[in-house]
């Protein structure tokens, strides 16, 4: 089975994706992660204004099979959260790279050290 791994993002070993968008960094979980989790039923996100440390847990995603922490790819202040997920957690399954995004960060560093799409693909093979 092959999973969608868009070229325009960077990835974490813990299956989060990051995307630079006009000075902010958007974060979500990968197609592989949502498939492993199964139907997502609940998402817990930080508050806007929270300061996150790189690699710290910033939220929780719960499926019918498992509960997993979400990890920040990079430090920074939370500038937006996807509140739609509170009522429609299925978006994480249906559109993990689009409507299923989770938070936006005012990042205080570079994404260059994160996994490239090729490196992430190798990891999940």
């Amino acid at each position: 089975m092959s999973f969608n791994i868009p070229d325009d993002r960077r990835y974490l070993e813990s299956h989060e994706w990051t995307e630079e968008r006009d000075g902010t960094v958007r974060v979500g979980i990968t197609d592989f992660a949502q498939d492993e989790l199964g139907d997502v039923v609940f998402v817990e996100l930080p508050d806007i204004g929270d300061d996150l440390d790189a690699e710290a847990a910033f939220g929780v995603v719960e499926s019918i099979k498992a509960v997993s922490d979400l990890y920040a790819p990079i430090g920074g202040e939370v500038t937006a959260i996807n509140e739609t997920l509170f009522d429609a957690p299925e978006l994480v399954n249906d559109d993990p790279y689009g409507e299923g995004w989770m938070i936006e960060l005012d990042a205080d560093g570079s994404l260059d050290d994160l996994l490239t799409p090729e490196e992430y693909e190798e990891q999940i093979e």
Binding site: D39, V41, F42, I64, K65, P89, E90
Partner: protein
């Protein structure tokens, strides 16, 4: 022939207590003035928008009602329907005589009375404290915590109070093995500790090297159950105790699996300092469902001054309640869930030493017999009271659903995750050989079936496959929601 005994309390006698020198009585229901409870109106205690004049209650005949409840009972499956090998949960039959004992009028006296009027109650508590201490190899026991998880929390609070009393309040970590029950992690976190998880070794037991690396002067306690979640005895328990005690930490025993050791080995002798007892698993009190439970806590001598208050002790002139010197305080109303404790006492007293030893022997024998009889791969072993099989290429959750079609309750599935597609199975000591053979036959029938059949199961039960996703995303929490 005449009966010249003193009249005894019967049925629903009036509660009576002593107020100063005066005996006082709780009024009978028929004596209570109905007008004392007012609702609504200008002077009533409730606001108008919370009161109503009409109430539509369903009007049913007695046969209709009887059929309704009979039908509900037939839709259900419980330990009185058949085997219930739900691993880790120890689903034991509750002998009816314990209910009889708990229903005796003398068992239900109000606890808010002077000790002198409660001697029978206090004597039973003192004996139960003593029984539990002897069974666990502990020095002192508190009966107060109202459930296993509550007992666990109290045990860790006692450990914390002990460290703080000894100026060791800087200890900030509790170590938990990855095979531990989820409550261990929750307990440590709720008590304000950082949780350090250590992986299991290849043989499914505590990895001593990992424990040694994790243990430090920040370690407050290491929480362990023995035999562990895989049903394996922690053979290195003495070395574990040495490592934990070596850094000044305490060794916590999760009593969830004590039924495997009853009368044969004692946590206290293994080096554990504090433990809780799940009286519903180790003995036989009603189980789960959020109903009243009990989770007594046992400790070694040095922790006894920190136990919850009040405790019970024997004096020359009878039994009395007292507060331990540095008690963490009360953790439940009065003396805990008293009638549950009465049932645990009745069970222990009825079985005695030989009976308890027999219970643990049969629990272990039954688990190992069943593990031998099923075709699924069963890694590790030999076992104590439970084993974890692997469903292999099948989905463990589907296996469980299909087992319902064969008229038995399935094992716990997909946990612990150190065995893939885990089928965690605990038949308990109550099953006969015939019953275990039936259970094995159900496992075997399901093992032969294809994925399509499994995914469609159950199809012979009252309720078919529940849509877990829909239930989690859009729960219906009231009957009002059913109308939509």
């Amino acid at each position: 022939m005449t009966d010249d005994r003193e009249p005894t309390m019967t049925g629903y006698d009036q509660a009576r207590w002593i107020d100063g020198d005066e005996p006082r009585y709780e009024p009978l229901l028929s004596e209570k003035d109905e007008t004392t409870v007012e609702v609504g109106g200008d002077d009533g205690p409730l606001p108008d928008d919370l009161t109503r004049d009409d109430l539509t209650l369903p009007e049913l005949s007695e046969p209709e009602l009887a059929r309704h409840y009979t039908r509900l009972s037939q839709m259900n499956y419980g330990i009185e329907s058949g085997p219930y090998p739900l691993g880790s949960c120890t689903m034991k039959y509750n002998p009816k005589f314990t209910e009889d004992v708990a229903a005796l009028p003398g068992a239900a006296v109000h606890p808010d009375r002077p000790d002198g009027t409660l001697q029978g109650t206090l004597e039973l508590m003192a004996h139960l404290q003593d029984y539990l201490a002897r069974i666990g190899g502990m020095d002192e026991v508190s009966l107060q915590p109202p459930a296993g998880a509550a007992g666990e929390f109290v045990g860790i609070l006692v450990a914390k109070a002990y460290h703080e009393h000894n100026d060791e309040g800087h200890r900030s970590e509790v170590i938990v093995p990855d095979s531990a029950h989820g409550t261990n992690f929750a307990t440590a976190a709720l008590a304000g500790y950082d949780v350090i998880e250590v992986p299991s070794a290849e043989d499914g037991r505590v990895d001593l090297d990992a424990l040694e690396a994790a243990a430090s002067e920040d370690t407050a306690a290491f929480m362990l159950t023995n035999p562990n979640t895989l049903g394996l005895f922690e053979r290195n328990i003495e070395a574990v105790a040495e490592i934990v005690h070596g850094v000044g930490g305490l060794l916590y025993y999760d009593g969830a699996n004590l039924n495997a050791l009853l009368g044969r080995a004692r946590p206290g002798d293994m080096g554990f300092d504090v433990m809780h007892y799940n009286v519903h698993k180790t003995f036989a009190t009603p189980h789960g469902g959020g109903g009243p439970g009990a989770g007594p806590v046992g400790v070694v001598e040095k922790l006894a001054p920190f136990l919850p208050a009040p405790r019970v002790r024997e004096r020359d002139d009878g039994f009395e309640r007292f507060d331990p010197e540095y008690t963490i305080g009360k953790v439940h109303g009065f003396e805990g869930n008293w009638l549950v404790l009465v049932k645990a006492f009745a069970y222990i007293a009825r079985l005695g030493d030989d009976g308890l030893r027999d219970a643990s022997a049969k629990a272990v024998l039954n688990a190992n017999y069943l593990a031998e009889r099923i075709g699924y791969e069963v890694p590790h072993g030999p076992f104590h009271h439970e084993f974890v099989a692997s469903a292999g290429d099948q989905d463990a959750a589907d296996v469980a659903k299909r087992m319902l079609d064969y008229g038995v309750h399935p094992p716990t599935t997909k946990w612990p995750d150190i065995v893939s597609e885990a089928l965690m199975t605990e038949p308990t000591e109550i099953e006969s050989r015939d019953s275990l053979d039936d259970l094995a036959a159900a496992f075997e029938a399901v093992r032969e079936e294809d994925d399509e059949t499994l995914a469609a199961a159950p199809d012979r039960t009252t309720a078919r496959r529940i849509d877990q996703t829909e239930a989690a995303r859009n729960p219906r929490l009231s009957w009002h929601d059913l109308a939509d």
